[in-house]
């Protein structure tokens, strides 16, 4: 049974194994960008995952504008002026939940172990994924605003107003994503991440001023709508797009963003470190 072990190692293999020079550690930013690049490559290889950021906003905008527009605001064009900034917010806020799903899948598949065993700036894996998501959010925003313009949306705030509004929306979405990254670590399966995210997002988006003016709502609901950060975001985006900025709302949105990152950022990273 003692077969002489032939260490037949070809030269390629030997050469490939003698690379002990370790380059200096890359910066936190460069590391995050590498993870962002990974997210973009995934979009390139599986372009279907852009369906939710292209078809979903188109469908929602068309359905609500033409189904309810006339009844709610007298005419569809009229309603669109009110509704488009709202549906833009809803679309982007809804797709933030895929961030948590993505992280959960990475953990389940085992690649997170690889990242965690590397000598890198640890939040980069999450921050980089969020960079990639920012691209998806931007696509969704561009599709929604583009469709709106075709349908007759005329923002008085001009290009500048629309751009500032979109940036504010991206800032909030980036901050909200940390809630889902936390969930992505806590929950066991991709489906449960999806389910819980939906349960949080549905009341946040529908219990807001996205679809209708809260004035007609019962008092208890109005109370909720008024403290809902999504309502502030919608007011801010609406104001900026229509050239009548509501700085109070902008302030609340920024405050909410800081609070979300301050709470869920460290929480995510703690879970990242201690994930079993």
């Amino acid at each position: 049974m003692t077969v002489a072990v032939t260490t037949r190692v070809d030269d390629d293999l030997r050469k490939a194994l003698t690379n002990r020079s370790r380059p200096s550690r890359p910066s936190a930013l460069s590391t995050s960008f590498t993870f962002g690049w990974r997210a973009l490559l995934k979009i390139k290889h599986v372009p279907e995952q852009l369906f939710d950021v292209t078809l979903f906003p188109i469908m929602m905008t068309l359905i609500f504008t033409y189904l309810f527009g006339g009844a709610l605001a007298g005419s569809t064009t009229e309603y669109l002026q009110f509704f488009l900034p709202g549906i833009l917010v809803q679309t982007v806020v809804m797709i933030t939940m895929y961030t948590g799903v993505g992280i959960n899948v990475d953990i389940a598949k085992g690649i997170f172990d690889r990242f965690r065993s590397l000598p890198i700036w640890r939040p980069a894996a999450v921050v980089g994924a969020l960079f990639g998501d920012a691209v998806r959010y931007s696509v969704a925003a561009a599709v929604t605003v583009g469709l709106g313009l075709v349908l007759g949306f005329r923002p008085a705030g001009g290009v500048g107003g629309v751009l500032v509004a979109v940036v504010l929306l991206l800032v909030f979405s980036f901050s909200l994503s940390w809630v889902w990254t936390t969930l992505g670590f806590v929950l066991k399966t991709e489906k449960s991440v999806m389910g819980v995210s939906m349960m949080v997002l549905m009341p946040l988006t529908f219990g807001s001023n996205i679809y209708v003016d809260p004035a007609t709502m019962p008092a208890w609901l109005r109370a909720f709508v008024e403290v809902n950060p999504v309502s502030h975001l919608v007011s801010a985006v609406r104001g900026l797009m229509h050239g009548v900025p509501n700085w109070t709302s902008v302030g609340w949105v920024l405050l909410a963003s800081v609070a979300l990152v301050a709470v869920f950022g460290p929480l995510t990273m703690r879970l990242y470190r201690t994930k079993q």
């Binding site: 260490t7 293999l13 370790r22 550690r25 990974r38 290889h45 085992g110 172990d113 690889r114 000598p119």
Partner: protein, 321 residues
């Protein structure tokens, strides 16, 4: 302790709920060799490795890997070791090249260097043709190779390979073994876990046997084998009907335990002395018991495992929490 040790661990404990997944593991792994970590599923192999690779924080005990403490200097450990986990540790939705470029970039290579290194590794591992295919289309053997390639973008001083050949066909398994041998030849310490006794026997210089979270034996292959017994004599008879008679005779002549095998014509005697065995075999023939074949050898790792743990290595023990 001296710096010749790549890993020194003492009293490592990891609890999952009230289950003691790892229950006081001590290790002294010499540098520059292959160290085999052997045990059935659920024995605590992976958990131990994950602690040593800084993915899990131990509940008790300490360990130093290449001189770095795994808790207080985890980054120091990470900068010198690599881990190839039991499950996919590359991104299935990217191509082979993209995976390696990504890792090279994360380790600080420039874009150009990263690409160069990726090409070099893919060629060395026989994956050049699959370089631009998504990893999810790779076969099991290719997957394992890209996993290992991803672990040695910068050749580590120590590499953890968690069940590197589980589920591979013999040819792919041999390829992985060649890579492991090449790694050691180039000076990397390898710690590999395995459920396969043959694998540990073939590759490892030293072996620790783990069961129920505890190390139950440790030593070179030879030491482990001789701790179980000097060796064994396997005899196969022409007529299965003569086995009880042969069993009786051998037991008397060799003064040792003789056990019938599952093959109705075969039996095994724990005996290592060649001269004694030759006489016993001659006595069998003289008594009219025809011997079809016999072999005398060191006990296999299977026998070692059985003797040490009281159950065969293949048994997949369900861990009762």
């Amino acid at each position: 302790m001296t710096s010749d040790l790549a890993i020194e661990a003492s009293g490592l404990v990891k609890l999952f709920g009230d289950m003691r997944a790892v229950d006081g593991v001590d290790l002294a792994v010499p540098a520059g060799a292959v160290y085999g970590f052997l045990g059935p599923n659920g024995a605590g192999k992976t958990t131990t490795i994950r602690m040593l690779a800084t993915l899990l924080i131990p509940d008790a005990g300490t360990a130093r890997v290449l001189g770095h403490d795994i808790v207080s200097d985890a980054d120091g450990v990470r900068s010198r070791v690599s881990l190839t986990g039991q499950f996919a540790s590359v991104d299935e939705d990217l191509t082979g090249t993209e995976n390696l470029v990504m890792l090279a970039r994360l380790l600080g290579y420039s874009r150009g260097q990263a690409r160069e290194r990726a090409v070099e590794l893919l060629e060395a591992f026989g994956l050049a043709e699959a370089a631009d295919r998504l990893v999810k289309t790779y076969s099991g053997g290719m997957r394992r190779r890209i996993d290992i390639a991803a672990s040695i973008v910068v050749t580590p001083d120590l590499i953890f390979l968690d069940e590197p050949t589980t589920g591979l066909d013999p040819r792919s398994r041999n390829q992985v073994w060649d890579i492991v041998r090449a790694l050691v030849a180039e000076g990397t310490t390898v710690l590999l876990t395995s459920q396969y006794l043959e694998e540990a026997d073939q590759l490892a210089d030293r072996i620790a046997v783990i069961d129920h979270g505890k190390i139950i034996a440790e030593g070179t292959n030879g030491e482990l084998k001789s701790s179980v017994g000097s060796g064994s004599l396997h005899v196969r008879l022409v007529k299965p009907g003569q086995r009880p008679e042969a069993e009786h005779l051998l037991r008397r002549l060799l003064d040792t335990t003789v056990t019938p095998d599952s093959d109705p014509a075969a039996l095994t005697a724990m005996a290592g002395d060649a001269e004694q065995v030759a006489l016993a075999l001659a006595e069998l023939t003289r008594s009219g018991i025809e011997v079809a074949a016999f072999s005398l050898g060191q006990p296999t790792m299977d026998e070692v495992f059985l003797a040490l743990t009281g159950h065969p290595a293949e048994e997949h023990e369900e861990v009762s929490a």
